[in-house]
């Protein structure tokens, strides 16, 4: 009996000492500073330096929300509010100023010898329809697009926040949905005119003589002169640029993450600014800048003297093939000998 009690006493003592040892261990670990759970952890600034943004894993299906921090948003803010603002103002106002100087010094380019009263067909109704579809959409797109950057500065103080907000909502929808007829129109114009817009040696000569705008020469030109051909290709490139980036902006985060969206917006804005400036110059030359130029797009018939002055090779081709339309005055055109 006593031996059993002795064994029991021994066992109990051993267990008690063991429990004491076990209990003492955690106390040692709880001293502050001896364990740093941060040792293997990531640091915010380190992650930002490595990747420019911090992305982890979340529990909600909106995967955009897994980005904890993207300080590039502040960079985009500066680009959008400051750089695009200044570039846009300078480029567009600069072009307007240059055109004004040109108009008041050189004046409009007049038809030499005055109008002949006889006309010939330059653009068919399909060509004119496509052009005007592009033109009307472009004006809508341009004004509503510029409204995003400049509206709050120029228009908001005039009409107040509520009215401006209503206008901005309408402008935003107009911008989104005018883009489709714009692209369709440009595609139509491309198919109609691409063959006539290949640059040739004639155009190089045309450029060398300043297109007749600098000086008073009359360089020969085909249906489209060198300047028009350059405009054609710039419009095609510009449309590809704004349409592609615009598609990304129209469907946010469908194909790209936030940095892609920021880049798409900046490219869209830069191309659009250059495009607007280009078209302002185009509108100038088609309306104020050249007597008889607007006729081509308004009813498709251009004055014969205008055509001979500006597109002499085209006149020869048309008359040679006997393809000119009957002039409204009833007089017939004489074929070139």
């Amino acid at each position: 009996m006593t031996i059993i009690c002795a064994h029991i006493r021994l066992a109990v003592t051993a267990i008690a000492l063991l429990m004491l040892a076990v209990a003492a261990a955690p106390v040692a670990a709880q001293q502050p500073g001896s364990v740093d759970p941060n040792a293997a952890a990531v640091k915010e600034q380190q992650l930002l330096q490595d990747h420019y943004f911090i992305r982890g894993l979340g529990t909600i299906p909106d995967t955009k929300s897994y980005v904890v921090e993207q300080p590039l948003g502040r960079v985009w803010r500066v680009v959008h509010e400051v750089w695009l603002h200044w570039i846009g103002s300078l480029v567009i106002l600069g072009v307007v100023a240059l055109l004004a100087i040109f108009y008041f010094t050189r004046g409009p380019i007049l038809i030499e010898g005055g109008r002949s009263g006889r006309t010939m067909l330059r653009f068919t109704s399909i060509e004119r329809f496509s052009h005007w579809m592009v033109a009307v959409s472009f004006v809508i797109l341009g004004i509503t697009g510029l409204n995003i950057t400049f509206g709050k500065e120029l228009l908001l103080p005039l009409i107040g926040p509520e009215a401006f907000s209503l206008w901005a909502i309408a402008a935003k929808y107009a911008h989104d949905y005018s883009s489709l007829p714009f692209v369709i129109g440009v595609v139509m114009l491309f198919l109609l005119w691409v063959r006539k817009n290949m640059l040739t040696a004639v155009d190089i000569e045309w450029f060398k003589e300043g297109g007749g705008m600098i000086g008073h020469s009359h360089p020969p030109a085909e249906k489209f002169n060198g300047g028009q051909k350059v405009l054609f290709w710039l419009v095609v490139l510009g449309t590809i640029g704004v349409a592609a980036t615009g598609l990304f902006l129209l469907f946010p985060f469908y194909w790209t993450d936030i940095m892609g969206m920021q880049l798409a917006q900046v490219i869209h804005a830069l191309v659009a600014i250059v495009f607007v400036a280009l078209i302002i110059a185009h509108i100038y030359i088609g309306t104020l800048g050249m007597e008889g130029g607007f006729d081509a797009m308004s009813n498709g018939e251009v004055d014969l003297n205008w055509a001979k002055q500006h597109h002499s090779l085209w006149v020869e081709q048309e008359l040679g093939q006997g393809r000119n339309a009957a002039p409204p005055a009833g007089a017939t055109t004489t074929p070139a000998t």
Partner: protein, 85 residues
């Protein structure tokens, strides 16, 4: 002039068509950002363990499968039928 007016009309018509098309792609974020498994298929309910369901591809579980926690599912059944309610 006619070409210009027709062009204005075309811009409006094509724009409106584009609006209708894009509107069809809209989703409320409650649907877009919700997991499929959070959808409850009402025809797959333990109550239908008593009666055969109509129009559902999920075979109803027998009552004893619920009581005795039988997680097996028929081989020809879609995995989504195993999603929790």
């Amino acid at each position: 002039m006619r070409a210009f007016l027709l062009a204005c009309l075309a811009v409006l018509v094509i724009g409106a068509a584009g609006y209708c098309a894009l509107d069809a792609l809209q989703q409320p974020s409650g649907e877009a950002f919700a997991t499929d498994s959070a959808r409850i298929d009402p025809s797959w309910s333990w109550r239908t363990g008593l009666a055969a369901p109509s129009g559902s591809q999920c075979q109803p579980r027998k009552i004893w499968q619920w009581f005795f926690v039988d997680f097996r599912r028929p081989a020809d059944e879609l995995p989504v039928c195993s999603d929790s309610q």
